[in-house]
Amino acid sequence: MRKIITCFFSFWLVCSCALASGFSSASTGSGETRHFKAEEIISFSKKVEKTLASKGAHVAILARMGRPLSEMPPGMHFTHVAFIVYSQIQTADGRSFPGYSIYNLYQYDDRPDKSRLVQDYPVDFFSDVAAMEAGILIPSAELQQRILKVISSPAYQALHDPRYSVIANPYTEGRQNCTEFTLDVINSAIYQTTDIKQLKQVAKKYFIAQPVDVNPFKLMLGSIFSAEVATSDHPQKPETATFERISDYLLKYDEGAEALTIKP
């Protein structure tokens, strides 16, 4: 019996160490997890809008920090990416004015392995961020025009795959997250096609994904216990698209693209 206990205790110790060494969720001393006042969110959202307007951006890629940086895996900074589009907004009280609207891929609350396309506004986008920081990627005028064309056409919906995974592989079909969807829309605009196989070939050849630097044991547990973590679309070591890697991609291939960060 003593041997059994010793063996089990050893296994338990190994498991605990393995799990603890992955995500650094324990380091919460940075103060990044604070909640912001409504006025702060409104002010920051408006600053993002005004910055984009001052640069004459009709379309940009916008990123936010939904989780504290201390909880993010290496190489990942922002948690959510979407398109922000200069629009004519009509309000419930009948007014109409120019502003920015955001085109998101969101998970369903009750079905985390499924997603939908949702349109909202900057103040909604930043309403529950862990840190007041926005990543912005402004494509060239030519690419903005092409993205606008995709977003305003049935192609936008056609590029959406509702089967969601937080670590979706941008090189393969089968699962999609917000960053992969963003990349698919960008490439659809660049190559003017909605042929998903062609878009994946393009991604494989020119886009450099972010390796998911997570303990394999944790990843295995994630794929078992969590519906939103899938490894089925990863034939090899997991990689996923991130705002940073999409920025690298456009800054390399889209002459005139500009990346910036906005803080309060």
Partner: protein
Amino acid sequence: MRAKKISAALICYLSLWTVSVAANPVEHAEHAVQAGGRASGNASASAGHSLAATGQLASGVIAIPILASGVGALSLGSAAVQAGGSMMDSASRPIGKPLPITDETVSILPPNKALQQSTTPKN
């Protein structure tokens, strides 16, 4: 006999503890690498209420991309084209030049209000 019972209890306790530890980091893993969509979905609803309470928000019913100069982004007959006047003024502004923007802060319409509208948002 008593030692066996204590040992069994200890194993049981450690098993449960291990499962618990194993599950929690997975949860962290989800949150850390997730695209944030689900968190945002919750946030949109909660923030919509709390921010709306400030009285500083206008509820957006519909938002149509404004055409950039020389771009046929929207098909004829679309809401954007039908919107007319002010839309065309904005459309004359090329990409890269400063754009006019409202000082109003717009948020998505709460579901109960949206149900009262005859026109529904796109998504």
